[in-house]
Amino acid sequence: MLSVFLFALKDLGFDLLRTLFSAAGMAAVTMGALLLNAFSSSMGTYIYAAPTSSNLLVVDSTTVDPSDSDISPAVLQAAYDLGPELIGRVSPQFFRRLWVSEKLVQVRAAPPEDWPSVYHMSLLQGTWPSGAGQAMVGEGAAAGNHWQIGSVLDVAGNALTVTAIYRAPGASFSAIWLPLEQAQAIFGTERGIQCLALQLTAAADPEEVRRRLQADPRLTNGMAVFFEDAYTHNNIQFLRDVYGLMFAVSIIALLTVALGTYSLTALNLAERAHQIGILRAVGFSYFQLRLFLTLRALLLAGLAFGVGLAVALVYVQIQQTGGPVYINGFPFTFYLGGEQIGLCMGLTLGFALSGAWLSTRWMLNDSVAQLVRI
């Protein structure tokens, strides 16, 4: 086995230029597949995120974007009426999707005392905004827009100074947050609340509370009660479509590794039919020759993968330095972890193996006599 491996290695090294040329073609494919994976894994953090909240969310279920939802005082009262034994906090939330610095950004507001407890926000830099003209930005938004403490944002014609950068799960990661009072001072109290986040007590049965509130006659005009995570997941169909498309394209792209290996091995066999005949004549078995050609293909694919990985890592590093990429209001940071690299490497080697196996299956059927005559 070792001798066959060394033989394959020497064979690749013999015509190094051709080997590198062949590897370059495959490296381009593996780099593409790795980048697609790096991007789709970033999307996967939204699509397959583990539940981060057990909050209930009251929102107009007939509006796709919460911006158009409007919580009436009666609905707010219905939530309060559930009582402190079931509801720890009722947090009214203001929500808009606005163009800020030429990017579509979620602008949210809630009472400051709810930020850490209901929305799981933690302060990274600065101080929580408290006065007029102050706002805080998520770390995703800060990185993507190069916003810092002291930056001034134009939000719907109002100059707001960034006083804090926070960390929070989900899409809130890239939002701008204000104290509710201030949002209502800017945008008015009419349509001042788009949804209610309800933090349940430890004793409450979430499904039972959800059912009770949903049955309240004050919840009219499309108002519905959701589990917060379920609501978020329902509204990311676009991400799921793009994620599916990217994953499919990355697999199809890697399929070309199998095709490339097939053609390289087939040509190798056509070029060396005479030598292979001699090797067969002096005692090399069909299995050993097949092993040699397969190992050769695997080494080539391994080299290509290494080159592709190196280029992809550099690209990912450059992308990460520039901050997240924004698409449809969601920030995406390219991420290439062990899982993505392992998957792509496994597929690259697997496809190379299948290409070489298919090629040798057809080409080694000739007899020794036929081969040495070529």
Binding site: E102, N234, N235, Q237, A248, T256, Y326, I327
Partner: protein, 364 residues
């Protein structure tokens, strides 16, 4: 020259299994390129247009042409005071319980919308100002998705509306349902509020102007769509990079194969050169094989793109983006295939031309 064409063609036929595999390899990269351009074209066609003759007044910072803007009637008076000769209110929002069943809803004034929105009635008749409530015009793409025709009904926010017409605009409004402004206000519980006001361009008010009333800003009609398209640009840039690397990979694989196929024929090619065939004949020999493989790859790529494009659509807030292939895309993709062909032919041709003729003649 015809001899070289024949020789190249026969050699390709001799290696037809290999040629087919190479063609599939090229077809995959072409499929990716076609799909990418197909989706981008549909996105641009639907969203990336500006109506130069009209402006809109919307709540500052919002994407009022789709959702999120709410204005009071007093804004209309303010606009007229500032010289707008025509003020047409509209409601624009997205209704539905999930992105899957979302519908773009537009509330219109039946006696005025024809002036500001060019459309073509495909069947039925337009909405009229004296129509009874709960009637709707449905965009052609939405009508196809929901399988509705004039005389049928469509459910909007849980209430049935009688369909009076199916219309076509060629932009995202082909996914909209149009109902009277009064019906929309009642359906949404908006009272007398609207989403936007459409006003003529070229008067006193200009894009970028703001009104203190309700924090209103003026922008070009269609600008919200062009901004949304810009939001998708990073995604398309990445996919474009991938498509180009796949093309380079396919070109390298083909160049490598052509070079090796020519290497197998090196003695015969050297003899032909020695009896007077020029180096261009060598290029022709490689080009005919490359063209055969690339041509087959192009046809296969086109078929694959048509198949995948019909299966996968990107859905966002009531609009499905499909892969659309027009002549421009076919020409660009043909250029892409030509690039693969040139790269894969030129590289081995240079390589072969540099080899010593005497050594090649000695090859066994």
């Amino acid at each position: 020259m015809p001899e070289m064409l024949r020789l190249g063609f026969y050699d390709l036929l001799h290696q037809r299994r290999l040629g087919f595999v190479l063609a599939i390899s090229i077809s995959i990269s072409l499929m990716g390129y076609l799909l990418l351009n197909g989706y981008q074209t549909d996105l641009n066609n639907r969203y990336d247009w500006l109506a130069p003759t009209y402006l809109i007044a919307q709540q500052s910072g919002t994407t009022g042409e789709f959702y999120g803007s709410r204005l009071k009637p007093v804004v209309a008076a303010d606009l007229m005071e500032r010289g707008a000769s025509l003020v047409v209110p509209e409601i624009r929002t997205v209704t539905g319980t999930t992105m899957d069943n979302a519908v773009l809803l537009r509330g219109i004034l039946p006696d005025r919308y024809e002036r500001i929105e060019p459309y073509r009635i495909l069947s039925g008749r337009p909405l009229l100002s004296d129509d009874s409530p709960r009637l709707a015009m449905v965009g052609v793409r939405l009508a196809q998705e929901r399988d509705v025709l004039p005389g049928g009904t469509i459910e909007v926010r849980g209430r049935p509306f009688g369909v009076v017409a199916v219309f076509e605009t060629g932009i995202y409004s082909d996914y909209e349902v149009w109902i009277s402004l009064r019906d929309a206000q009642e359906l949404l519980g908006w009272g007398d509020e609207v989403s936007i006001f459409v006003i003529p361009a070229g008067e006193q008010l200009r894009p970028g102007d703001t009104l203190p009333t309700d924090k209103v800003s003026i922008s070009q009609k269609g600008e919200n769509g062009t901004n949304l398209v810009k939001e998708f640009q990073p995604l398309f840039s990445l996919l474009n990079l991938i498509a180009v690397t796949l093309g380079i990979s396919a070109a390298i694989a083909l160049a490598n194969s052509l070079w090796r196929m020519a290497w197998l024929r090196r003695r015969e090619l050297a003899i032909l050169q020695s009896i007077g065939f020029s180096k261009w004949a060598l290029v022709l020999y490689l080009a005919v094989q490359g063209a055969g493989v690339t041509g087959l790859g192009f046809i296969l790529g086109l078929l694959e793109a048509l198949m995948v494009g019909s299966l996968i659509s990107l859905r966002t807030a009531g609009v499905a983006i499909h892969a659309v292939y027009d002549w421009r895309i076919l020409l660009i993709s043909a250029g892409y295939a030509l690039g693969i062909l040139l790269l894969s032919t030129v590289l081995p041709a240079i390589w072969l031309a540099r080899l010593n003729l005497a050594e090649l003649l000695r090859a066994e």
